[in-house]
Symmetry: C3
Subunit: 262 residues, 3 copies
């Protein structure tokens, strides 16, 4: 029933990414800007954070892909994000939603629900966030932050099918689904949750992989798998959460060589 990652597609997708080094327009939260940029750069992509409304609209059409992360949402930022999403759609550029903390916080949850109708190429969140997005349609079920990705899979599949998008749920096992097909990605390490921004940066990497031609479901799963892989490598070499950070970026930077030997 569950589909596996296709290692040939995975390997080719990484090569494709590194050859094309897509320009990713990141409208993300204040806490993870530097880390997100450095993760994209380690992958060989070009990050650019552009937030002023006029510029965000202009730049979303120029960039290859757009990330919208609602982590430190404000009214101003919301306005600029709306313009950018419409501009990306008009220019036929994929955009990805990261619904950080959707559920308990009303303002951003309302905004995420609004964005759902604007055809995201993918949505990447944790179990609770994805369940919150699907919440109303599932009968207003409350959000439990202790949910596992297994708990959230039906919500993800429902959401993906309804919106004709891809939903990726991150956790001990990641699930990536378009409502019909579902890929499970295992691996990673709990230490990844003790460093700020690994999830937010993954969403940016998902946006980057969404710019590639081919099987988008496999490509999004590749993004999830490579980040878990880098997390495992980093964990093996680090002495705590501090040294995890440079080791994680180094591991991403070295993915190319790793791939070539596989």
């Amino acid at each position: 029933m569950l589909e596996q990652i296709n290692t040939t597609i995975k390997s080719k997708a990484l090569q494709q990414l590194q050859r094309q080094h897509p320009l990713i327009h990141c409208m993300t939260n204040d806490v993870v800007q530097t880390f997100t940029a450095n993760v994209l750069l380690a992958f060989g992509c070009s990050p650019a954070m552009v937030i002023e409304p006029e510029e965000a609209e202009q730049f979303a059409a120029i960039a290859n892909g757009l990330l919208v992360n609602v982590g430190t949402l404000t009214t101003d930022r919301q306005y600029a994000m709306r313009l950018a999403v419409h501009s990306a759609n008009k220019a036929n550029k994929p955009w990805v939603l990261d619904p950080v903390a959707a559920g308990p916080l009303t303002f951003r949850t309302r905004f995420c629900h609004e964005l759902l109708s604007l055809k995201p190429a993918a949505i990447r969140g944790n179990a609770s966030e994805i369940m919150a997005l699907a919440g109303e349609s599932l009968g207003g079920k409350g959000v439990d932050s202790l949910n596992t990705t297994d708990d959230a899979l039906p919500a993800a599949q429902f959401l993906a099918e309804k919106l004709a998008t891809i939903v990726a749920i991150s956790g001990e096992t990641d699930y990536i689904t378009d409502g019909t097909r579902t890929i499970a990605v295992t691996g990673g390490h709990p230490l990844m949750t003790r460093v700020v921004g690994t999830g937010c940066a993954l969403s940016a990497v998902v946006a980057a992989f969404c710019t590639l031609a081919g099987d988008r479901l496999q490509h999004v799963a590749t993004a999830c798998a490579l980040m878990k892989q880098a997390g495992e490598t980093a964990t093996q070499h680090c002495h705590g959460t501090g040294s995890f950070i440079p080791e994680f970026l180094d591991a991403i930077y070295q993915l190319n060589d790793d791939q070539e030997n596989k």
Copy 2:
């Protein structure tokens, strides 16, 4: 006259913190967001940066503790902070003030004075900042940025007693006082001042320790002591300010084990 850190309380407080992993709402400056989050995560706490007024008000009641740091204050941020502080107070959650650069900058100094009446659980700053907060009451004495914590101790004690709060002054020797009792914490290393955010992150850690039941003065002193301890460990292992950063986070992450051996 000076009280010592009670090592039993210190050790238990750390264990308590790591068991409860409090959710800390950080309204802090743009420069230290990532570092603050990573310090809290290394301690086993959950950081969340929420800044939109409606959300900040809502979240301050949900989180276990709140940090208000005026480092890159704006009019919008000020408005959201006010709502969050009132909400925290209403929900009986402790909040901590970090009066970054209070004194020479009029706008934030005015705001800090306003906040003083809103019952902070603790105030954490350097000597000049604490003297600036106490300034008017001490007769409008000017602020000298070269003040030592010894110079600032009377101002700290005056402020703590007047506001029925705890004041922590950071420097070569930290003083933590409630106006009557005063704890001195020595240690640390000058290198800690050559990396941005060690003081701001300490304020977030103080907010985390303020969420614990028990002797709050000892708990705030514990926060100061553990950060100095991590700074010493990091200094021993680093080759400059760059490698200090991951070593410092690693040292915090490893504090648990260290404590258990003591």
Copy 3:
């Protein structure tokens, strides 16, 4: 025709900087705040990010130098930057412009052109940005992001002479020119472009070196040379872009000792 870096001036400038540890007011983009602060601290300078209009105006007169970086420009930030620049000029403090992504983005390009008339002490950018700033005067020539610094040198010289300022173009070879004299600085490593903020941080360091008395052209070239030197050292010791970051800061921190042995 090209002038060399004067190693005596370079060595003395670094010592001067470390003795005076100038206070640098950074109005910079959201992505590079922490890294910029840590680079300045590693050099022995004092960074301060102050952005609220009233405070920015007040602080620009107090600080020794000002950096204006338009990376995540907003209307609010623009307003505060204008006040700060006028205040710096009035107080006779040097200010530096980093025209991040000027050219393709209309809003910031317009603002950069406005700022050009306000007597920056120096402008630091990449080839495309400098060509965009000079663009209209060179006959509306389009900006090609693939330009080398050699391509941009005439634009830099034109701009520097017209505005009576110093223009530094960063690339494989950096050029620093006042329109008449031009210094070339080689070295560095491509890895520096795979980490976010090395260029933005250089602009802050340029602002710091602009606060020194003496030959400003040589001082700006010194800033460029020292950053390239640190980049080379870091590259030799790192295993990827992640470990490059702490190694780079360590290399800057250790520059003093290096210099003393030369």
